[in-house]
């Protein structure tokens, strides 16, 4: 994201002009734009006009509109952000108060005006505009018969492809069926890899699986690359690494990112920090369960006693349509910071964030044990 222009006060009103450049940026925009903000962007609208003869003409007009946001939709697969709201700019074609849906696209700037730029919004902009924090890692997570291809960006993990084939177990003479089914499966994965991974963008590709599937696939890939002269793979051989995974399902991605080889590649990125933070939480829960808590109620109680050392939250909580509750969470984050705690805002588009979201979306590691939390109803 590029910050083109800024005219705002911290904790006050103002506007910012932003230019999304990568797919990740739309996700950030999604987190930035809240109900009640006003958003200006260039858009196309079909306009009906009554002609002199009494007929009606439909015409598509390019307009610059500003709307007051009523709802925001993010499509994770198609990477489109749609913002619906009421028009507030005077215009020949669209009346004030008429509904319009702006579709935000890459490389098209938009101006966001907020009544109140809180700490979180500014932080999001800062993160989005930081070009160094990008991970851009591709992970092929596989087990026999099942493979997922993920692209891990700064704040989103996108499932680009899923391959599933039924591979027979060994059956005496029918062992050939197993071999050929496995070959076919690998071929599908290889095709997905060639189709979805752009080595210009992706820093490295991690092939992860339990057992030896990863080695088998790597061997197959290199063999096929040499045979079919697949330049992309031959040239980027050194950027393809192997890692162990407990299974081929999406949630195993956490463990893959946590393996030392992969961790060193991505250690500065948000994804890696999230994985680490969640791991710390679970370690604390294992070792001293009174020093870790989750759920809004428990976290609140812990905060009242100034016990929070690390606060883990998902961004879904801030996207709450209810402004008051967003304000509440922002205040919580700010005051935790004020008392010397650290805060991790998880992207719900990463696996670790997804897991946290299911764990009520909020959790904390405490400075000192609070055993009586156990007795407070959640």
């Amino acid at each position: 994201m590029k910050l083109v222009h800024r005219n705002l006060a911290r904790n006050g009103p103002g506007s910012a002009k932003l230019l999304p450049e990568e797919e990740d940026d739309l996700w950030h925009a999604y987190n930035l734009i809240a109900v009640g903000d006003s958003l200006q962007a260039v858009t196309v609208r079909k306009v009906l006009r009554d002609s002199a003869s009494g007929g009606r003409d439909a015409e598509r007009v390019k307009l610059k509109l500003e709307i007051v946001v009523e709802s925001v939709d993010y499509d994770k697969e198609g990477n489109v952000l749609r913002v619906r709201g009421k028009n507030i700019t005077e215009n020949d074609h669209v009346k004030i108060g008429q509904f319009h849906t702006l579709e935000l696209e890459l490389k098209r700037p938009f101006v966001l005006r907020k009544e109140y730029w809180d700490w979180l919004a500014l932080d999001t902009i800062q993160q989005a505009c930081d070009p160094t924090a990008s991970a851009d890692l591709a992970v092929i997570l596989m087990q026999e018969g099942l493979a997922h291809l993920f692209l891990i960006g700064r704040s989103i993990t996108a499932t680009r492809s899923r391959v599933e084939t039924s591979i027979p177990r060994k059956h005496g003479p029918a062992i050939a069926g197993y071999e050929s089914a496995l070959k076919k499966f690998f071929e599908h994965v290889l095709q997905a890899l060639l189709k979805h991974i752009d080595f210009e963008v992706v820093q490295c590709v991690v092939i992860a699986s339990p057992g030896f599937t990863k080695d088998q696939f790597r061997d197959y890939m290199h063999l096929e690359a040499a045979r079919r002269d697949l330049r992309v793979i031959i040239e980027n051989k050194s950027r393809i690494i192997l890692a162990h995974a407990p299974s081929g399902y999406k949630h195993s991605l956490k463990e893959v990112l946590d393996t030392p080889g992969v961790m060193s590649l991505i250690k500065d990125t948000k994804a890696a920090q999230e994985v680490q933070a969640l791991k710390e939480f679970f370690t604390m829960l294992t070792n001293d369960s009174a020093r870790a808590c989750y759920g809004p109620k428990h976290v609140e109680v812990a905060h009242e006693r100034l016990a929070i050392q690390t606060l883990l939250m998902t961004d879904t909580l801030f996207r709450n349509t209810d402004i008051a509750s967003r304000r509440k969470y922002v205040n919580l984050v700010e005051s935790v910071k004020k008392y010397g705690g650290t805060v991790h805002i998880f992207s719900s588009m990463h696996v670790s964030g997804d897991q946290l979201a299911q764990l009520t979306g909020i959790a904390a590691i405490l400075r000192f044990p609070l055993p009586d939390l156990e007795d407070i109803e959640m």
């Binding site: 029918a174 071999e179 407990p246 989750y294 897991q355 946290l356 109803e377």
Partner: protein
């Protein structure tokens, strides 16, 4: 019109999916034939009254399609000839049977239409009886109307005639196509008194059917593919399933070989097969030579089980291997499972069908300890816990590699005491564990009693083969509707394009019968049944078989699915309530935990939605408060959401399909049983 019709309503829809019996000449016909081989009567007759051939009950015919003619049905299902949703079929016992090839071809359709006309010329009282097409339209109203028409047949006063009138209606409804059948009808009319009882019976059913017309003909055919399951309690096994249950050949015993990696499971299997003459000399020689060439001489026996190039190259088993041998009492299906940690999922999906198990432990110093998980989780422990939760009660512990410890009784007793404590904590009874010291490499105490004096001097128990032979006979449930979890989907020359492997959990299956493949909800016909490469005509609960299917697209058949009785589909769910027992874990279980759920052969990614309650270990009572998390050795009721639908049953209904295993981060975190299946229909609402 008799008033007892409601009673006939109560009797369960009892269907025969096997070879069909011609209603005219009682010739047994193959399912694939559209018409009788002897007299040429169209099969449709039996399709519409799908119950023509009750072995003893006489002609109890039930009109399944509620009087919708072939023409009408084809008109209302124009889109695809394969479409299984027939618009006006009744919702309760819908049209699963009337799939694919049973759908009338255009030719039959034409014929039907023609004869239908023709019959109008033959039969009297045609004005009073609604034609099939009329009935389609009338059916949307109440059946009252129809019944009125029924009673208003002019010649009610003469019983014989009345029967004829009703019978006529039957004829109209069933749209029987063959001239001979209308001849029969004429005969019926002629000497109706002689067959009155019979036809009256039909009338009852017809009447009952008419009631269903009004009850069930709501426009709710959206889910016609998967019918509302008929309660299993109504199921009556067909005679062929029960007969010959006790005689037959020696019964099958599914024997799982489990244990820690490198404890010698495959070698033990290979050795056992060799000793029993199941491996030819030539084959053994070949294995020995190849193993030596690779510098792995000691793997020669293991290679009898590990056939894939990868397994041989790495010297470990990766997938469950299957082998067969016979003992005095049993026909044993040996399932050689992989011991490596990474392949526990394969082990689970391959071995859930086990009736008995051999736990192989390595007696040599250090290896036994690592299997017990001195550092990390050992698979000796994990496997024996899993095997217990598969429902296996009897365990044979084979203490292998006794040669490496000089057949020391001391070491054996040490292993026995250490492992014994753990096994008892898993819930094995002391008396159900058989301990057998042996050496697979030196062939000691496998099929014959020990010959080495160092062993025979102190051990006087049974050898492994005897121990296997004397395991308790597994319980077989033939009287329940068919359930066969698909372990494996294969295709071979013998079995055809689509073939499945698995163990019949309950019920029975025979060739040419129809089965419902869940969760896709497609029907298929059983073509071939094979056990250990020998053909069978039928198989019963407990048999481990391969089945060649016909009339189904391979994409609908996935391992982890279930073949079931067409009328009693297995429940399919994506949300479950489980009662789980947490194993020895370090990281506690919290809501939001993402894990792999294994149930029979199915595995699916799932997440823990919430912890419903904590159960007291001793009393089993649920705690009042919702726990924050679950730690090792706790029992709890939890709710899980699955990423995809799987076929499961509540544990109380069917144990084999009601077990679940939760794995996370490469180890088994909990085992459990399904206490409640959240139905798909409910979820949609």
């Amino acid at each position: 019109v008799p008033k007892t019709d409601n009673q006939s309503d109560l009797e369960g829809p009892h269907r025969n999916a096997g070879p069909w019996l011609c209603s005219i000449c009682s010739q047994q016909n193959d399912t694939s034939c559209m018409s009788c081989e002897v007299c040429g009567v169209l099969r449709d007759l039996s399709l519409y009254f799908n119950n023509t051939n009750e072995p003893e009950g006489g002609a109890k015919r039930r009109n399944k399609h509620s009087g919708v003619s072939v023409l009408a049905r084809s008109l209302f299902t124009p889109s695809s000839p394969k479409s299984k949703a027939i618009v006006f079929s009744d919702g309760f016992r819908g049209n699963k049977n009337a799939t694919g090839h049973m759908q009338a071809s255009l030719g039959t359709l034409h014929k039907t239409f023609m004869t239908h006309k023709q019959r109008h010329n033959i039969v009297p009282f045609k004005f009073d009886i609604p034609s099939p097409d009329d009935m389609v339209s009338i059916g949307l109203k109440s059946s009252r109307h129809l019944r009125k028409a029924d009673t208003s047949v002019p010649c009610v006063d003469i019983p014989g005639k009345m029967v004829m009138g009703d019978d006529d209606l039957v004829a109209e409804k069933d749209t029987s196509t063959d001239p001979s059948s209308s001849v029969k009808l004429d005969e019926l009319g002629g000497n109706s008194s002689s067959v009155a009882a019979n036809t009256r019976n039909e009338t009852l059913i017809l009447d009952n059917e008419l009631q269903h017309l009004s009850l069930e003909r709501k426009p709710k055919n959206s889910k016609a593919k998967i019918k509302k399951p008929v309660p299993v309690s109504q199921y009556k096994p067909e005679p062929w399933m029960l007969q010959g249950e006790d005689q037959e050949m020696p019964r099958q015993l599914n024997l799982a070989i489990v244990g820690h990696v490198d404890s010698g499971k495959s070698t033990l299997c290979g050795r056992l097969l060799h000793a029993l003459g199941r491996i030819s000399k030539k084959q053994m020689h070949k294995n020995e030579k190849e193993a030596k060439e690779k510098g792995k001489g000691s793997f020669a026996y293991a290679w009898a089980m590990d056939e894939s190039a990868d397994e041989r190259a790495r010297g470990i088993t990766m997938n469950v291997g299957v082998a067969y041998f016979d003992t005095k009492n049993y026909q044993v299906v040996m399932l050689d499972s992989p011991g490596h940690k990474d392949f526990v999922p394969n082990m689970i999906s391959g071995v859930t069908q086990a009736d008995a198990a051999v736990l192989v432990v390595d007696a040599s110093l250090g290896s036994f300890e690592s299997g017990m998980g001195v550092n990390g989780v050992g698979q000796t422990k994990e496997h024996s816990q899993l095997i217990r939760s598969f429902g296996v009660e009897n365990l044979i512990v084979a203490v292998n590699k006794m040669d490496s410890v000089e057949y020391s009784a001391e070491r054996f007793n040490y292993v026995k005491s250490q492992l014994g404590i753990f096994l008892r904590s898993c819930g094995y009874k002391e008396s159900a564990i058989t301990w057998v010291p042996l050496s697979a490499m030196e062939n000691e105490n496998l099929v014959t009693a020990a010959s080495d004096t160092r062993l025979s001097s102190w051990f006087h128990g049974t050898c492994l083969l005897e121990a296997i032979d004397s395991s308790a006979a597994p319980h077989r449930d033939v009287s329940k509707p068919l359930r066969l979890p698909i372990c494996d989907v294969i295709s071979s020359h013998v079995l055809g394009q689509v073939a499945v492997c698995g163990k019949v959990v309950c019920g029975a299956i025979r060739s040419d019968s129809k089965v419902l493949v869940m969760p896709s909800g497609e029907l298929a016909t059983v073509k071939i049944i094979e056990r250990d490469s020998s053909r069978l005509s039928s198989a019963r609960a407990g048999d481990n078989i391969a089945i060649g299917l016909q009339g189904i697209d391979p994409i609908h058949v996935m391992s982890g699915g279930v073949l079931c009785h067409p009328d009693y589909p297995v429940s399919v769910a994506s949300s479950l309530e489980l009662k789980i027992l947490v194993l020895d874990i370090t990281v506690p279980i919290l809501p939001g935990l993402q894990f792999e759920l294994h149930a029979h052969h199915a595995k699916v990614s799932a997440s823990l939605v919430r912890i419903v309650s904590l159960l007291d270990q001793k009393t089993g009572k649920a705690s009042a408060r919702k726990p924050r998390m679950l730690t090792a050795r706790q029992a709890a009721v939890v709710e899980v959401r699955l990423e995809r639908e799987v076929c499961v049953e509540e544990f109380g209904t069917l144990k084999a399909l009601g077990r679940a295993f939760l794995r996370s981060q490469g180890s088994t975190v909990a085992v459990g049983v399904v206490t409640r299946v959240v139905q798909r229909e409910l979820e949609l609402q």
